[in-house]
Symmetry: D3
Subunit: 130 residues, 6 copies
């Protein structure tokens, strides 16, 4: 029993339909991924999350492929399987190679390790960083 059932595409009306249409158009995809169908249970959440995600993940000083890699790195650290899978798919679509994904994973691994070494030894901030 999930909290809520996904909103099917043919059930989408009003604001939900409008967002679904924009997702398909912007992403050049033919069906709506489950994430959007689940959060459509709350049209406010759907509208807000799509608007924010679209705005944040677009090309900027960082290209959107790099942003996807950063997104996956966070999702691995948070152990969010759906997020890892869906954003790996997106990253590859935007040009990330297998080698890039492998190197990103190594960085995530060493960062998680070194983060804990810092906590263990309670490292003081260096003077040049103050």
């Amino acid at each position: 029993m999930s909290l809520f059932k996904p909103v099917k595409e043919n059930q989408a009306k009003g604001r939900v339909k409008k967002v679904f249409d924009d997702i398909k158009k912007s992403r050049k995809i033919k069906s709506i991924p489950n994430f959007w169908k689940y959060i459509a249970n709350n049209p406010d959440t759907l509208e807000r999350t799509w608007k924010n995600t679209k705005e944040i993940m677009k090309n900027g000083a960082l290209d959107s492929k790099t942003k996807e890699l950063i997104y996956i790195a966070v999702s691995i650290t948070n152990s969010c399987e759906y997020c890892i899978r869906s954003h790996s798919f997106a990253a590859k679509k935007k040009g990330a190679t297998d080698q890039m994904l492998k190197e990103m994973i190594d960085v995530v691994g060493i960062a998680n390790q070194n983060n804990k070494l810092v906590e263990s030894y309670q490292v003081e901030v260096d003077n040049f960083l103050k």
Copy 2:
């Protein structure tokens, strides 16, 4: 009372001194950051961590600036203040601009939010992701 006191540079001998020298040479810096001085309490940890970090963070399919941004993204998600500060310093030295850092932060924010929406709604994996 930290678990251990940092090993001062002028106290470094043998394997510790060798690693300290390599850090200064590779990074083109004149003094050893606290992280390495603290973990030097265990020369095995120091040697292994330096070797791994150096190998993983070098230029590859991803340039080392991008790797630093990914490293910071993990450190923010883990709330490791020292790690955020020291790798922001490193990222800037390698050419990351303020605008890049700001965009990375936005990605970290939205990823942490969306990760939790996925957990909340217990989103099922899409067929095209299986």
Copy 3:
């Protein structure tokens, strides 16, 4: 291979049976949820956990429905699927509406995002909060 198999209701004896009976009576349910059957492998853990949970989750200055919502918010942040499902069930039984659950989820989302923005920008404590 889970670490341990659940203790079946008809296998429960002594202290375990006593706790199982109290759970069914207090919660007005006819069968024991898996959580209690698994931790019954250690009767000390079962007794202690049931006693503490019962005491903490009862009506007080906060009603027990609100407590369930707070419990789910923590479970989402920790990505504990079983916990989210079972406490959503409990929350609804205690009168939480779908709209309440949706609003709780939005708060969890924005809190996780803003928590990370605070870490990113290393926000200093305001004078009026000191």
Copy 4:
């Protein structure tokens, strides 16, 4: 060295000033808390975060005091000190009593413990929850 310095109120211009003014008006406060001053380094982040936070934290099916308690519960789970302090302040302003805060803390404690017991014993989802 924080990544960025806070934007002072008398430096705020354009979009930043507009948001600062709305924060003061909506919250009935005379000076801007540090959180908003730090994220003002990126006016997009400031605008988006204020808009979302304001919308999500307002009274709804859950009153805004309850929402603050949920927000603090997440912040404790994420160990975000600034967030705990500032939202405790907000919760009290909205009518949360010390007793409510203490009970919320107990729920956060037991939820974090039970979440880990569930992971330890790898509890299977109950049939009535499927």
Copy 5:
């Protein structure tokens, strides 16, 4: 502004005094560590937490020194500085050597790294583990 001020020893009465006395007697210490003084704001929390902690941390199939090391490993993973400091102190008092602490830290580091590699590669459970 912490949520609550610590309860001073000379202010302790009734149930709080009784727990404080038992802590000093059991631990053979002359003053109460801050943790207990803070949670004494809620005598229920104090009584329950002391009872549970005392019961769980005592010698059993695992000696209490090993239990302290496990406690610190969790606290490092959760980045709880106070917890790391106070339980390192306790571990040393119970006979943990510096070398033991250093080896525990290395295990915590590699476990955090490998945990994330498992999430990254979404490793399937082996048949012999099912």
Copy 6:
């Protein structure tokens, strides 16, 4: 769609084969656990991770059974199911009894709870710990 497919034993060549052979020899097992087969997609990651894990998990001031228990405690705190399962298997092989595992779990539970109480009450470091 996992990011990568596991490398089958009969596909292993060169460096990968060499590591696979060493794993089977050192661990006295006849087939390679999935973890190593997945990370073999990046031979650098495989070599480095095996070398580090082997070195860190061997008998030292802490025996390798105790190290496995610490490893599981971290994996529970990080909610890594595969890691909990595989290292419980390893711990038992090295002599950990069911009772030891149950006591370790209790320590993990109380540590996670108390860690959050410390954050909630923002406990200040004791003078004797400074």
